[in-house]
Symmetry: C2
């Protein structure tokens, strides 16, 4: 013990640090995945962690409700990072951000400059419903190849090919963050400094600081989690049809799903039960209405759920 204390005494001592809480709030409406933004789409809801907050989550909930007027439901922690770029030069004041993911049902926002935005506005290359977006073949791949050539080994191109599913490799929808960081590194993205270069404008709407990176982390997490944990239901209205559920999953994953197989998997796992009613919506045979089986939540929270989004 004494040994340890002496060792510690020589070392850097405790110094206060500014801590920010940042929220990635996700909802889905009309088959479009949405993220809550403030400042007219330029930032995620966030604010400093303060003494009167009883916990990190409590602080986050406070900020979100204050800034957006929306109460939070399901919340989980995402990642913590030191803002290396953002607050540089603020004179010895280290700053870290603790980010959280929240899943909600979309409700129109009242606060001005605050509201839901389609997340594919920020990541246009991430939506592969109906096939890979042209943007990848037309802009991203050539630009990345140029960038790769300016490096020494073939490592850069290899990374790019894996991340974007180039050269016959399959698309892995979970690599959202890797793709963003690759584009950042290649300076193809507005947030990277010299980004007045060609192409930056096409590559998605920018955000302040590292908020777009945080959003990428959030998208990656939802996409991963949705496969083994019944969190999709946090995004759904209490009653829904199979197709609505499927569209929601497809929106999140950015991938198309085989309809009969989707149904089979959901029913096999007994995630839902029929309400007995049916919905006459868009023409065609009426769909049965389902609700989530509440009993499943606690069991599956641990045990896991499967959705047909496996690697190819």
């Amino acid at each position: 013990m004494t040994q340890q204390k002496t060792t510690k005494a020589k070392a850097p001592s405790a110094q206060p640090v500014a801590v920010d809480l940042t929220a990635v709030l996700v909802a889905v409406a009309d088959g479009r995945p949405l993220v809550m933004t403030i400042e007219d789409g330029w930032a995620l809801p966030s604010g400093p962690f303060a003494v009167e907050h009883r916990s990190l989550q409590a602080g986050l909930r406070g900020w979100v409700e204050r800034q957006t007027g929306h109460p939070l439901g399901y919340v989980e922690q995402l990642y913590t990072f030191a803002d290396s770029d953002r607050r540089q030069g603020v004179e010895g004041a280290q700053a870290i951000s603790i980010s959280y993911l929240g899943l909600l049902q979309a409700q129109p926002s009242i606060v001005p400059l605050t509201g839901w935005r389609p997340w594919y506005d920020y990541f246009p290359w991430e939506d592969h419903r109906g096939g890979a977006p042209q943007l990848i073949a037309k802009t991203i791949a050539p630009e990345l190849r140029r960038w790769a050539k300016s490096g020494e080994t073939g490592a850069r191109w290899n990374r790019a090919a894996i991340a974007f599913g180039l050269e016959g490799r399959g698309w892995n929808e979970e690599l959202v963050l890797q793709r963003y960081e690759l584009l950042y590194e290649a300076q193809l993205i507005a947030e990277a400094q010299q980004a007045s270069r060609k192409g930056a404008a096409e590559l998605g709407r920018p955000m302040i600081g590292d908020h777009r990176r945080i959003l990428a982390t959030g998208i990656a997490r939802v996409r991963a989690k949705i496969k083994y944990n019944p969190v999709v239901f946090e995004l759904m209205a209490p009653v829904f049809t199979m197709l609505q559920l499927q569209r929601c999953v497809e929106a999140i994953a950015g991938l198309d799903v085989h309809k009969p197989n989707f149904r089979r998997l959901i029913e096999q796992q007994q995630l839902v039960e029929e309400t007995g009613e049916s919905v006459t919506d868009t023409g065609g045979r009426p769909a049965r209405a389902f609700r989530f089986r509440a009993a499943v939540r606690e069991e599956r929270a641990a045990a896991g759920t499967k959705l047909p989004l496996a690697r190819s």
Copy 2:
């Protein structure tokens, strides 16, 4: 923008917070999973995040090398939490811990009171190699049942049964944290206040503050990660036999694995290549020596690896 700033002005303002970095360092030796401890097994390596640290990871590496003398290899972030219990009463000084997981090859420690300890000393109920430990049926299950009865609904017992695989449910080796928190809630664990109650002594070695909770988080993470990411190799010597690799996986997972199937999966995925040599170890037919295929690391880091530890 202006809108937001006014809103923020009314709200809690930025206040400095003490930030701690804590490391869960894992190694495996002789089929025993180990964790690096300081203070004679009572604490994990940790120290405050300070201004001179260029990044969170850099700060962590500094602390670990200072306290243990071991250089760090693979590191990933675990979780960030506010120390609700630990520093209570330090007069308005909020404190948060950012925890990291590191994987190493075990090397004897020189620093006194510092060294590797079997992690099952801290979590004796987690080792299911050779069947579920008696401890669960003899002590944990009855105590939890008593605790459950003192609650109103059946929810408590249901949670306990899921977490510990009671009543014919299968054991899920990833629920390390849920199990620890359940035992904590039921006050069966030394760290919980009134824990001079019967049974606490059997339920693993305690640690200071919430270090055992952090360790539980780390174990859960390695157990999950090992299944889809080739991180096992961080724990292995450069050359190894199939059985050594299998024992390592079994040690981490706390489960037995079917030998032929383990081999099949590893070879199918081309994770390893033969060195050409063979090892004459413990009697019996000599085993071929393998090494990890380096090319796999970057590919699989993204794509994923499989180990035969699927749910039953």
